[in-house]
Amino acid sequence: MEFDFSPVITYFPTLIKGIGATLLIGLVVAIMSIIGGQIVAVITLYTKKTVNWPLRFFIWLFMTTPLLLQLYFLYFGMGQWILIPAIVVGVLGLGFHYMAYNADIFIATIKSVSSGQYEASRSLGFGHLATLFYIIIPQAFYRAIPQLGNNMIIMVKDISVLSAIGIAELVYLSQYAISVTFRPFEFYITIAVIYYLINVLMETGQAWVERRAAIRR
């Protein structure tokens, strides 16, 4: 068993492309899941239970079934009714999955904002919606940041699962390179290292954001 990392170097431009795709997907999913999660959380908390039960059902469903099963359902299943490209399915699937997790966090943090804040704001003349947007949600958002960061770090790792439905991200492109060079060990080690570096960067970023948020909380 001798290791030969020269194919990895030859295919490094491909891997770079994969890193770019992974980061881009990560960014889109992060924005989508945070904004979507916030909206879902506000709707579930401030509408009647008889109205928002489908929303609560989907949060529950996304949280109790594995991501891969959801992706298979969306990709192979939805293809029967409408034809959507794999990349859209992947981003939407991952986005909805983490939207549910983020909504769960936002629900908890919105509830944790003291009800005195709401009452004080209303008695100062803010309307219901203005109170939500200017008083409650900002406070809840700052409280949610540590857990949001954790979720996003887990999410970036889960992007690798998208290769199962044929999205050309890091793992998928390396599988292509492996099928040409027959060097799985070297490539997967490289990918593990790349993911580890991304993870370290994200953890550093998370610590920085948390420090900044702590000032403004």
């Binding site: 068993m1 079934t65 889960d158 699962v161 799985p184 060990f185 593990a192 993911y195 580890y196 993870n199």
Partner: protein, 218 residues
């Protein structure tokens, strides 16, 4: 919704669900020992042993489970490690969850007030006796809860083993979607099975938690 089809595919999916349970339970079992070893290493008096455990935990938590699985299954033969898919799933699952679980166990142990440890030592208990009779009983409740969360993650992660062709729930569901062209029905039944498994885990965890905290008053 085709109810007859749903009834027809249920036996197949139940069989596959057992594989999911089997693989997760084994990974949890072995993962617990790996986690205990890691906790012991992290509290070791020899610095390199501590660094090794910390590096291991950091690397495992910093890379995707999916990549770890692919690395061991497809890359393993290059370093003389040939595992059949099921064993590979159990081994990678155990080593993966072990790293997370060691953090959970350490967190639970550290949550016990250090005065308890000091009082016990000054009353003449040894290090191990202190851990066994004083610290662990108090840490057990928190430990069981956090291990329960990890067990649920483990069940959901076991779906990734379908990539290395273990016939478990997700693999079977994908195959059935391909052969019946009825995605909604297959998804409903297989999702229901995951939900049943997860709620069963939650029930067991709650039972153990109540047993473990019988005598603790908080």
């Amino acid at each position: 919704m085709d109810i007859n089809l749903m009834i027809d595919i249920t036996p197949l999916l139940v069989k596959a669900a057992w594989v999911t349970i089997d693989i997760s339970a084994r990974a949890l079992f072995f993962g617990f020992f790996i986690a205990s070893a890691l906790v012991a290493m992290r509290t070791s008096r020899i610095p390199p042993v501590r660094w090794l455990a910390r590096a291991y935990i950091s690397v495992v938590r910093g890379t995707p489970y999916f990549v770890q699985l692919l690395l061991v299954f497809y890359g393993g033969p290059a370093i003389g490690l040939r595992l059949d898919p099921f064993t590979c799933g159990v081994v990678v699952g155990a080593f993966n969850i072990g790293a997370y679980m060691s953090e959970a166990i350490r967190g639970a142990i550290e949550s016990v007030d250090s005065g308890q440890h000091e009082a016990s030592r000054s009353l003449g208990f040894g290090r191990f006796a202190t851990l066994q009779h004083i610290v662990l009983p108090q840490a057990a409740g928190l430990m069981i809860r956090s291990i329960g969360v990890l067990a649920i993650i483990l069940v959901k992660n076991s779906s990734l083993v379908s990539i290395i062709s273990v016939v478990e729930l997700t693999y079977q569901a994908q195959r059935l979607i391909g052969s019946t062209y009825k995605p909604l029905e297959v998804f409903s039944v297989s999702a229901l099975m995951y939900i049943v498994i997860i709620y069963a885990v939650m029930g067991i965890v709650e039972f153990l938690y109540r047993r473990a905290t019988r005598y603790t008053y908080l």
